[in-house]
Amino acid sequence: MGFVARFHHKMDLEQWTVGGRGFGLVLVWLLMAGEIYTTFTFLGASGWAYSRGGPVLYILGYLPLMYVVSFYILPPIWEVGRMHGLQTQADFFQVRYRSSFLAAFVALVGVVCLIPYLQVQITGLGLIVEVASFGGIDRTPAMIIAFALVGAFVFVSGVRGVAWASIVKDLLLLLAAVFVGFAVPRVYFGGIGPMFAALARAKPAHLVMPGATKDLGHGWYITSVLLTSFGCYMWPQFFAASFTARSGRVLRRNAVIMPLYGITMPLMFIVGLCAVLVLPDLGNGDLSLLTIVRKSFPAWFLGLVGGAGALTAMVAAAIQLLAGATLYAKNLWRPIVAPGMTDQQVARLAKIMVLILTSGALFFAIHSSISLVSLLLVGYAGVAQLFPGVVLGLFSRRVTAEGVFVGLVTGLSIAMFLMLTGQDPYRGLNAGFIALCFNFGATGVVSLLTPVRVAGFDKAVPSIAAPQSGKGVGPTV
C-alpha cells in the first residue's frame, strides 16, 4: 500500500518528509496514531501491567494529557512551519534562534534519542516472531529480515506511504486489541468484572500504586505523567508530523478527538492482568500478551495478533527512521560538513542514513536486553529536554539561544547521570522530570543574562528550505 502511494506524487524532499503539507484530518490522525501506538502499546503496556501492576496506569494518565499539550503547541508550530518551509524539528530551532550550532545540537539529541525507540520496535518484533513461531525462528534472524523490509519501505515511499500503511495496521491492531481484551478474561474468568474481582481478592496491592514495585508511588506517577505529556511531542517524528497537516485547525481538532483512540490501552492492561493469575511464573513480562494468546487460542489466531503487532512495530519504526534520517542529513551533515548540498543531495543522504540507522538500532537490539518500557523511558527523559526551547521559543520573546543551549545541556547531563547511575526514580520522583525542572531554571537564568538577538519569528527571514515543488512552501503572508 505504501509503495503504491509513491506513484501518485513526485518524490522530492518536501514530499518525502512532509507529504507536501496537504494532509487533512483523517491522514494526520492516522499518521499521529500510527506513531503513538507502537509495539510499546502492544507488548510494553501489557508487560508492565503484568510485572508492575498499578504503575502501568501512568500510560492511561499521560495519553489524554499529551493531546491537551498538543492542542496549545502544535498549531503555532505548524504556522511557523508554513511560514518558513520547515521540515524538521531542528529547522524550528534554526529559524527561532538563528543558530545553526543549536539546530545541529538539537538534531543530534533527536537522532540519539530515537535509537532506543527504534530498539523498542526491533526488540518487539523479535519477541513476536519468537513466540509466534513457537521458538522455531530465532529472534536475531527475524529482526534482521523485518528491519530490512522496513528500511526498504521507508527508502522508497516516504511519509505518504507510511500514513497509508498506518490504516491497515490500525485496523488490525484495533480488532486484535478489542478481541483479545474481551476474550481472554472471558475464557478464564467469565468476563472483565469477575477477573478484576478475582485479582482484587488474590492480589489487591497489584491494582494500585506502587503495585509490585517499591518506588513507583504517587510522586513518581505525577512526575512521569508530566514529563511524558510534555515530552511526547518533542520526539522529532511527532513534532515533524504536525508539518504534514493542511491547517492549524486540523491539528486542533485532532487534539480534541485523539484521546478517544486511547481506549485500546486499558484492554492491553486487562490482558496483562489476566496473565498475573493465569501465568504467574513468566520470566519476561513483555511476553505476557503473546504467551496468554498462544495458550488460549488456536495457532492461526496467534498469527493474526502477531501480524498486527509486527506491522505496528514496522510502521512505527518506519516513521522513526524517516525522521531520524532527515534530521541527520539536513541539520547535522549539511550545515557542518557540506553547506553547498542541494535538496536532492540531502534527500539522497537521508536515504543512505535510513540504512545506517537501521543497522545501528539492529546492532543494539541484538546486543542488549532491557524491558521495553525502560528503554522508552530513557529516550523520553532525553527528548523531553527540548521542551523549554520549543515552548519558550513560541511564547516568550526574552529567551535566547545561549539560554536554551545551557538549559538543554544541564537537563541532559542530570537525566543521563541519574539514569546511568541507577537512580531513577530519584527519591520517588521521575529523574527526567527533575532534569526538566533544572533545564527550565537554567534556560531562564542564562536567557536573562544574555542579550536578546532574535525575539520571535521574523516573517522577513526567507524560507530555509529551497522550495522545489512550489506547493505550499515558503511565506504566504
Partner: protein, 76 residues
C-alpha cells in the same frame, strides 16, 4: 506567537487536575464501577471527558480567530 486565551488554558487544566495531580484521591480499588477498580474506571472516564473539555477550548479558540488560515473551513 499568539498565546492561547485564558479560558482555553483553564479548560486544558481540568484534565491535568483530574488525572494527574489528584492521583492520591482516586488511586484505590473500591468502590468498583462497572466491574472495574476505581482507578481504572476514573482514568477511562477521563479518556472520554478530556475531549469534551478540549472541544470547549476549541470553540473558544475558533471564535477568537486563532489559526485563521486559507484552509480553515469552519463555518463559525
Amino acid at each position: 506567537m499568539k498565546r492561547p486565551s485564558l479560558g482555553a488554558v483553564l479548560l486544558g487544566l481540568i484534565p491535568f487536575a483530574a488525572t494527574c495531580f489528584s492521583v492520591g484521591l482516586w488511586d484505590r480499588v473500591y468502590p468498583m464501577v462497572f466491574g472495574l477498580p476505581f482507578n481504572f474506571f476514573w482514568l477511562i472516564a477521563w479518556l472520554l471527558l478530556t475531549p469534551l473539555c478540549m472541544w470547549g477550548a476549541y470553540r473558544l479558540e475558533v471564535s477568537r480567530g486563532a489559526d485563521d488560515d486559507r484552509a480553515g473551513s469552519g463555518a463559525r
